[in-house]
């Protein structure tokens, strides 16, 4: 066993012991989702993080309709957005690019400022990268396939940090969202973005005249990373690595972590079910391979040249069993995967730099992206 596998084994053993001590207080989904265990919640995250994530939770409750439709206008109104900024701030500048007119697919490109001039001309935006090796991280924001955009403040902020942290160019894809655009739209958009990035001459590393591509994403973005990587493999585009932050996976079965953590740390099974119903093709269930890639309808990746993966799992995320199963699935197929299990982390810990998990993860990502030099 590798070190991290050992750590994982130990942690799961501990949880199994703890589970016996837990009261099982769930009587049906309704009770579970209504049970407010705010004290637990508040103790594991800083107060401003708690406020941030609780605010999202509250707003999202208002936006989801029981009939499966989504209040898109109110969602767009409430989402805090920031414009792109061609003026460097904190050493990073950004601009939006219309990749595909047909679908209106925009991406926001973040680049490190080289420090030459304060004002960048429009021509400088696509100036070729100068270093020998420049990682290009294609980022897919989270939001359970329905919320947020590339220009959401939380994701603009995160991408800027990634640029500095990894000395990378980051391309954040504004993929089409559910329920208006179901599977496979998000994957199609991811694929379009990948092809676009791969064909930009100004993103080619000097060393080998190739674009050094990594895929990264959180929540639904993590799910998109997996599926876009699959397409890349099938089409011969080289992806050097996948980074999945609290990736969104699921299945028909109710796992132990789902039952145990339902409603405890900002997330309920009920809302997870809603988002899958909104994204997956109508009439399918959560064993659809988009949701459950190594499930009954999934396929083995044995023998496939799949990129190495870094998977970050939060110990207080109710879908962790699915995320861990994903890691297992990759391992069984002989794929290279590193699991970073953060015991006391909740969803969204990476949105604010006010906790240790954030820094641990940023370090790992930085190493992951530079290790191909």
């Amino acid at each position: 066993m590798s070190c991290c596998e050992l750590g994982l084994f130990f942690k799961r053993f501990c949880f199994k012991l703890l589970r016996f001590a837990f009261k099982s207080s769930k009587k049906g989904e309704m009770a579970a989702s209504n049970e407010i265990n705010l004290n637990d919640c508040k103790m594991v995250v800083p107060l401003n993080t708690w406020v941030l994530i609780s605010n999202f939770k509250l707003a999202y409750n208002i936006l989801r309709r029981p009939d499966g439709t989504f209040n898109r206008h109110l969602a767009e109104f409430l989402d805090r957005r920031v414009p792109a900024n061609a003026n460097p701030v904190g050493g990073v500048f950004s601009f939006d690019f219309l990749i595909d007119r047909g679908t209106g697919l925009l991406s926001r490109v973040y680049r490190p400022a080289t420090g030459e001039e304060p004002q960048l001309n429009i021509v400088d935006l696509e100036k070729p990268v100068t270093a020998d090796v420049v990682p290009v991280i294609i980022f897919f924001h989270g939001g359970s396939f329905a919320h947020s955009s590339a220009n959401s403040a939380i994701y603009d902020h995160l991408c800027r940090i990634l640029v500095g942290n990894c000395k990378a160019v980051v391309v954040s894809v504004n993929y089409r969202r559910a329920p208006e655009n179901r599977y496979p739209c998000a994957y199609d958009d991811g694929w379009t973005a990948l092809k676009w990035v791969n064909s930009r001459s100004w993103l080619k590393s000097r060393k080998d005249s190739k674009v050094h591509i990594y895929l990264a994403g959180d929540s639904s973005g993590g799910n998109i990373v997996h599926h876009v990587a699959l397409r890349a493999v099938e089409s011969g585009i080289d992806v050097l690595g996948n980074i999945l932050l609290n990736p969104m996976f699921g299945g028909q079965e109710r796992t132990e972590s789902e039952k145990r953590l339902d409603g405890k740390y900002f997330v309920t099974l009920r809302d997870r079910d809603w988002y899958w119903r909104a994204f997956l093709p109508e009439g399918t269930d959560r064993d659809h391979p988009a949701c459950n890639p190594f499930g009954p309808n999934g396929r083995s990746l044995e023998g496939i040249k799949f990129p190495k993966s870094l998977v970050v799992v939060a110990g207080l995320d109710l879908i962790q069993d699915w995320q861990l199963a994903y890691v297992e699935g990759l391992k069984k197929a002989g794929q290279e995967v590193k699991l970073l299990y953060l015991e006391q982390a909740t969803i969204g810990f990476y949105l604010l730099p006010n906790n240790d998990h954030f820094h641990v993860v940023m370090d790992e990502i930085s190493k992951f992206v530079s290790s191909d030099c």
Binding site: V51, L52, E76, L78, R80, P83, L106, I122
Partner: protein, 619 residues
């Protein structure tokens, strides 16, 4: 272990400033948006778009908990009420937003089903008034009074689905505003006295307490010119082709040569641009052509003839109105704010700084006509530039509006004012009535920036506006900084801006409309690039800069809410399926953009220390 993570954080804007004192209810918080450490705002949340004071954090957390509990009890009905009925305002101010929702769900007499009855504001406009170029006369002012007391005849109105609040305008389809119609003589109607019930609102309006937490302004600048420029430059690139890049290179190089007064080089380069432009396609070619022409004018000192024939100007304006949603968005959002400000008022007076053909007003008049309890008496003062032939353009417009008012039974009074500049106005000219008798709204669409060409003009206008004691001042302006002191910077900014704008026109169905709109915008480009001094009137500034100006002049913001946002979004869907266009909320203002690039902004203001004067206003 916490570590120094400064390298991971974007640096705060170095031009931050200390905050001053604050007083509740007044917009006297002077803060720089980027750094709030000195004023106790949680930095981390601020970067993510939420303004919460560190000292308020626990209280905000408490409100979140309370809301969660209430929502669990209220279940789906209450939640859907919050989603569809409630008007949300300024979500960045978490504390106030949460408080509003709490009071929405927990009022003493809570009625989640809004049993007070809804009326839909307006249907599609079936009373268009004549379009077309105006004949003009030499009269400088004209008064129209519609002396018939009108009351609302509900049977004649068209109602739409009741999913909006009482005071929402409906999205106006394009051609409905202007269509050919024969003139009719004003008819006399039998009038019966209208009931003067106070309007009953069935929905609660969530207002963020103006000025408390959410409105922050930097300290007043020393001079009215030289407002610190915005440090954010949003750019969207569409298509990067080889030729496009060379073309842009050439444009930049030429502008740089002009900046350095190297006119020989500039001359050579401007000719190159011409050749390169031909090989381009679409929007880029047209934009480059206009910029090249403007550069040429600057180089050869062939400044554009300023006075544009009025009728041509009107035609261009109208085509622009039809081609793309910018003007409609402007009118729509401004009208929404005015409508809400006029709630409960019996007599209202709109002073329009941007009268043109009066296209903004039919929609507002229609909405007022459909108001609960009947329309107010509506007075309109339209201000416009002089015409060059002997026609009285403003009179024509007023006449048409009077006819409309007649049809929809709104008591109407009109006055047109010709003025070379808004700064020529004095409050005494406007026949203002006491504010408890008549509520005033001041409206300006794409006019205010022109005042920045003359020192002191904008300040004069601000002062006159305050004398009008308006309930609301609605402003629509281009979202760009085309007024910086350095020519090259202005050139680059405007190149980005108009490239985006032209790109958005490409999808237009009517090629004639498109061409006219391009000419309309081309004139602006020419002014920005070729003119200087008092001739350069297209001095666009960004929302941040306008916020500074209004704050300094003693105005506080009035926030536009989720209802206006939603209606504006629906309006956009009428244009080419809405593809590419987007509305964004920004601290109570609404921005319309193309592919994420904000292009125009609607904001609303009110004098910060409005007092209800008992004496008359005339001076």
């Amino acid at each position: 272990m916490k570590r120094d993570n400064n390298h991971l954080q974007p640096n705060p804007d170095p031009s931050s400033s200390l905050c001053g004192g604050s007083s509740p209810g007044k917009a006297n918080l002077w803060e720089e948006e980027a750094t709030q450490q000195d004023c106790g705002m949680d930095e981390l949340l601020a970067v993510l778009g939420y303004k919460v004071k560190t000292s308020d954090m626990a209280e905000v957390a408490q409100k979140l908990e309370q809301l969660e509990e209430v929502m669990c009890n209220v279940q789906d009905d209450g939640i859907s009420h919050l989603a569809s009925e409630t008007v949300h305002v300024n979500p960045s101010d978490l504390s106030t937003w949460l408080e509003s929702m709490l009071s929405e769900l927990n009022p003493p007499s809570f009625d989640p089903f809004g049993a007070a009855g809804k009326t839909a504001p307006m249907g599609t406009l079936d009373d268009p008034f004549l379009g077309g170029p105006a004949e003009s006369s030499t009269l400088t002012t004209l008064e129209f009074e519609n002396n018939n007391r009108k009351h609302q005849k509900r049977g004649q109105q068209i109602f739409e689905e009741a999913s909006c609040s009482d005071y929402d305008l409906k999205a106006i389809p394009g051609k409905a505003i202007y269509s050919q119609n024969t003139r009719t003589q004003p008819q006399t109607h039998d009038s019966s006295s209208s009931s003067t019930l106070n309007n009953v609102k069935s929905e609660k309006r969530l207002k963020s307490t103006s000025g408390s937490h959410s409105d922050i302004f930097p300290p007043p600048p020393a001079v009215s010119y030289g407002i610190p420029t915005d440090s954010v430059r949003p750019v969207v690139l569409v298509d990067s082709q080889e030729n496009g890049i060379r073309l842009v290179h050439a444009l930049m190089a030429c502008a740089e040569a002009v900046q350095q007064n190297n006119l020989n080089l500039a001359e050579v380069l401007v000719k190159q641009i011409g050749f390169l432009a031909i090989s381009q396609a679409g929007a880029m070619r047209k934009v480059a052509t206009y910029f090249a022409e403007a550069l040429a004018r600057r180089i050869y000192r062939l400044y554009p003839q300023n006075p544009l024939d009025h009728s041509l100007s009107d035609i261009l304006h109208m085509h622009f109105y039809e081609t793309c949603p910018y003007l409609k968005f402007a009118h729509f959002t401004a009208n929404q704010a005015i409508l809400e400000a006029f709630e409960g008022k019996k007599r209202v007076h709109v002073i329009d700084f941007s009268m043109n053909q009066g296209m903004q007003w039919p929609a507002l008049m229609q909405a007022l006509a459909l108001r609960d309890g009947g329309p107010p008496a509506f007075r309109l003062t339209g201000i416009g530039p002089p015409s060059h032939d002997k026609s009285d353009h403003l009179q024509e417009v007023g006449w048409k509006l009077a006819q409309l008012a007649e049809k929809i039974h709104v008591e109407f009074e009109y006055r047109g004012f010709v003025a070379n500049s808004l700064a020529d106005l004095d409050a005494s000219m406007l026949d203002l009535r006491p504010s408890e008798v008549e509520a005033v709204a001041v409206n300006s669409v794409f006019e205010l920036h022109k005042l920045l060409a003359r020192p002191g003009a904008i300040d004069k206008v601000f002062s006159v506006v305050k004398q009008m004691k308006p309930e609301i001042v609605t402003i629509v302006e281009q979202e760009a900084n085309h007024n910086g002191p350095v020519f090259l910077d202005r050139f680059i900014e405007s190149l980005h801006y108009y490239s985006t704008l032209f790109d958005s026109l490409e999808g237009s169905v009517s090629s004639r409309d498109k061409v006219m709109s391009e000419v309309y915008l081309g004139k602006q480009i020419c002014n920005v690039v070729a003119c200087e001094g008092v001739d350069r009137v297209e001095r666009h500034e960004s929302l941040t800069q306008w916020r500074n100006r209004f704050g300094f002049a003693g105005f506080s913001p009035v926030h536009l809410g989720s209802n206006a946002f939603k209606q504006a979004s629906m309006l956009l869907a009428l244009f080419n399926g809405g593809e590419g266009y987007g509305v964004e909320e920004n601290n109570g203002c609404l921005m319309l953009g193309w592919h994420n690039r904000p292009l125009i902004t609607t904001s609303a203001w009110t004098p910060a220390n409005k007092t209800t004067a008992t004496s008359t206003i005339t001076n």
